[in-house]
């Protein structure tokens, strides 16, 4: 899976979660750039990503991701 494919999947997951089809994610997007993407829904998003890709993030990773690109890089690494 390349970056764009993972980004598209992330976008669908977040649109579903926040029920907002106007959301557009890029590699540089930060949580505060998306309305309603609060800390509660950040955790929910991470859980959804874990289920979708069959991966498990470390507690320390989850609280240190800077932007969407960082989550994608970690996801790719976990997918091997």
């Amino acid at each position: 899976m390349n970056d764009q494919e993972i980004l598209d999947t992330f976008t669908r997951i977040l649109r579903d979660l926040l029920l907002d089809d106007s959301i557009v994610l890029s590699m540089d997007t930060r949580r505060q750039d998306v309305s309603n993407w609060d800390s509660f829904n950040y955790i929910n998003f991470m859980v959804a990503v874990e289920i979708e890709f069959g991966v498990k993030f470390k507690v320390a990773d989850i609280e240190s991701f800077e932007n969407v690109g960082a989550i994608i890089a970690k996801t790719k690494a976990l997918l091997g």
Binding site: D16, L17, L18, L19, I43, V59, I62
Partner: protein
């Protein structure tokens, strides 16, 4: 791993269905579509989405939906439970408004009269407290006496909070049991060390149950659920570390459903009747094809014992007051023969209150079962091994609960138990006797057919009524009657046990409960009425609500009850009784009640009618019911 909420069917295309619902231009239609989506098996993420959609609805209350206000006082993060509670409410046509106070401030929220909790005025309060505070106060080396003292102190603190809730809100209190999320310190020896965390939590839950029973507090038993499902389902260390969630997000939908069950039970919305298919459900094989000898049932085969286990569970449910019925595509004579003649049948024909076996459509037959028992279709649970029949009933009668049964009969009982259809908030003597009362009712009907004439029939019943004001002993049953009765319910005012107790103690208020006896036995406490003097005109009494069990319809009890009510009002200087009839989809049977009792119309607003009875002109009505002393 067993899926969570396995009794609910899997949605085929949740994503598309949710968007279709949201595109509906009509809010009522949208709400109906969301409610039907709520009846599917939803994970944490789908639950969040459905709840978000629900939050977007601009409409107020859909018809047939009830608003309930629930506050959660918690010592850990519980915000993730609110969507699950609202969705589980939607599943039961309840709009649960959830209030969660600021994190870690539940005591202040409760004690400060200016707090948002007080403005919210909850009808139910759920305490979700972790065991961590208590554990921190117990040193590992503590003696039994020291541990007991600390636990007693923690429980006393909780009881104080319960009392504060009572003083402020008259709300029903639900206390969550303590989850054990600790790790073993000594191995199996943990149970032998008084101060070992696992043992402390067990003791804490034991003492909590005793205190709850004493104080009339309900329990949300997540500890038991966790023992059944496993700690990995209920607790996730990462979620605790990230956000202080003691209940894992993945367990939220189940936890929300367990909470909604209690709310529903408190509103009289628990299921009442378990309806069984026969072939390959109550027994293995098809009786029409395999004959009595060919059935797989009873000791000697694993499958036969599994069917027997299902019968045993049904019998236990009957003993706690659940009505049993049969709805099967079969020849009625052949089907009944199995009950009467098969030596391994644990359920007898007399255990079944409504028996429908024919070749008609099952949806029509379920309607017949509900009509015969005088209960709503939404009180039925239908158990059928055939997925096609299940889907058909879900589609044509969405109000009937139809569990999605596992492939293997071995797991039917577990599935039924997990679904929590029959959640209780009390176990009264009426519950214990209900099954027998339904059987006696069948005998009464047989007598009616024999006598043919209504007057002869009523006289032959040799009825007598015992009445009095609400006493402490009756409180649970009276509350249950007000909340579970839907047909003979004049105003559908629902009361908590606390509110009923307040009525019973109020100066000037007349509370009346009626028990009906006849030659077949005690029908139990079957009617209750609350008469309140108008604060401005004390000689005018108002019926706050009056309910009567459908078991005793057509027995003239409403006439004798009104005779008694009039006497009581006169004794207190009453000149008139005013009464409202507020129509609901279910109480049409009493729309003409007050005129039939001699009341005159006062007003009519959209079908809600108001009536008045002049006590000076009231002549006591002659009935076939005599008055007797309390024979209990």
């Amino acid at each position: 791993m067993r899926p969570m909420m396995s009794w609910l069917p899997v949605a085929t295309d949740f994503r598309a269905d949710l968007r279709t619902a949201l595109e509906s231009p009509d809010p009522t239609d949208c709400l109906a579509k969301l409610a039907s989506l709520a009846r599917y098996r939803l994970g944490h993420l789908e639950t969040l989405q459905l709840d978000r959609a629900l939050g977007r609805l601009t409409t107020g209350l859909g018809s047939g939906f009830t608003i309930v206000r629930l506050a959660i006082l918690a010592s850990s993060t519980v915000d993730h439970l609110s969507p699950a509670i609202r969705v589980a409410g939607l599943r039961r046509r309840l709009m649960i408004d959830v209030h969660i106070g600021p994190y870690g401030q539940y005591r202040q929220d409760l004690l400060d009269p200016q707090s948002s909790l007080h403005q919210f005025a909850p009808q139910l309060v759920l305490f979700s407290i972790t065991a961590r505070d208590t554990l921190a106060r117990v040193p590992l080396a503590a003696t039994i006496a020291e541990v007991d003292a600390t636990i007693a102190q923690s429980i006393d603190e909780l009881r104080l909070l319960w009392r504060k809730v009572r003083e402020n809100f008259n709300a029903t209190i639900i206390q969550q049991t303590f989850l054990d999320v600790t790790e073993s310190l000594f191995g199996s020896y943990d149970r032998l060390v008084p101060g070992a965390p696992a043992r402390v939590i067990k003791q804490l839950n034991d003492q909590l149950s005793k205190a709850a029973a004493r104080d009339g507090v309900l329990l949300l038993d997540v500890a038991r659920a966790c023992e059944r499902d496993g700690i990995d389902v209920w607790f996730d260390t990462a979620s605790w570390l990230h956000g202080k969630l003691e209940i894992a997000p993945e367990a939220a939908p189940l936890c929300g459903d367990m909470i909604a069950r209690i709310v529903a039970a408190q509103r009289g919305l628990s299921k009442k009747c378990l309806v069984f298919d026969l072939d390959n459900t109550l027994w293995g094989g098809v009786i029409g094809d395999d004959g009595l000898e060919g059935l797989v049932l009873g000791e000697g085969s694993a499958a036969g014992e599994a069917h027997l286990a299902l019968q045993r569970y049904a019998k236990q449910l009957k003993e706690r007051g659940v009505i049993l019925a049969v709805c099967s595509k079969n020849d009625p004579a052949i089907a009944e023969a199995a009950f009467n003649e098969h030596p391994e049948m644990l359920l007898k024909r007399s255990d079944i209150s409504a028996f429908v076996a024919n070749w008609n459509d099952k949806a029509e037959n379920l309607k017949a079962v509900a009509a015969c028992l005088n209960i709503g279709l939404d009180s039925l649970v239908f158990v059928d091994d055939n997925p096609v029949e299940r889907a058909r009933i879900r589609q044509s009668l969405p109000m009937v609960a139809v569990p999605e049964l596992p492939q293997d009969i071995a797991h039917y009982v577990r599935c039924l138990a997990d679904a929590g259809y029959f959640e209780a908030i009390a176990f009264t003597s009426e519950d214990r006797q209900r099954a027998d009362q339904y059987v006696a009712n069948a005998e009464r009907e047989a007598l009616f057919e024999l006598s043919g004439n209504l007057n002869d029939f009523l006289r032959s019943l040799q009825m007598s009524v015992v009445f009095g004001k609400f006493t402490t002993a009756d409180l649970a049953r009276v509350t249950q009657l007000f909340n579970k009765t839907n047909q003979f319910n004049t105003t559908t005012m629902r009361y908590t046990a606390e509110e009923v107790a307040i009525f019973a103690a109020a100066e000037g208020t007349v509370t009346l409960q009626f028990r009906l006896f006849d030659k077949f036995g005690d029908n139990g406490l079957v009617s209750a009425m609350i008469l309140r003097p108008d604060p401005k005109q004390p000689e005018l009494f108002e019926i706050d609500n009056w309910v009567m069990s459908c078991r005793v319809f057509g027995r003239e009890l409403e006439f004798e009850a009104m005779n008694i009510a009039v006497e009581q009002a006169r004794r207190r200087g009453g000149k008139a009784i005013r009464a409202d009839y507020l129509p609901t989809p279910k109480n049409g049977v009493i729309s003409k009640l007050y005129p039939s009792l001699g009341f005159s119309p006062l007003s009519n607003k959209n079908g809600s009618t108001c009536w008045i009875l002049d006590l000076a002109k009231y002549v006591s009505r002659s009935t076939h019911i005599s008055r007797s002393k309390d024979v209990r």
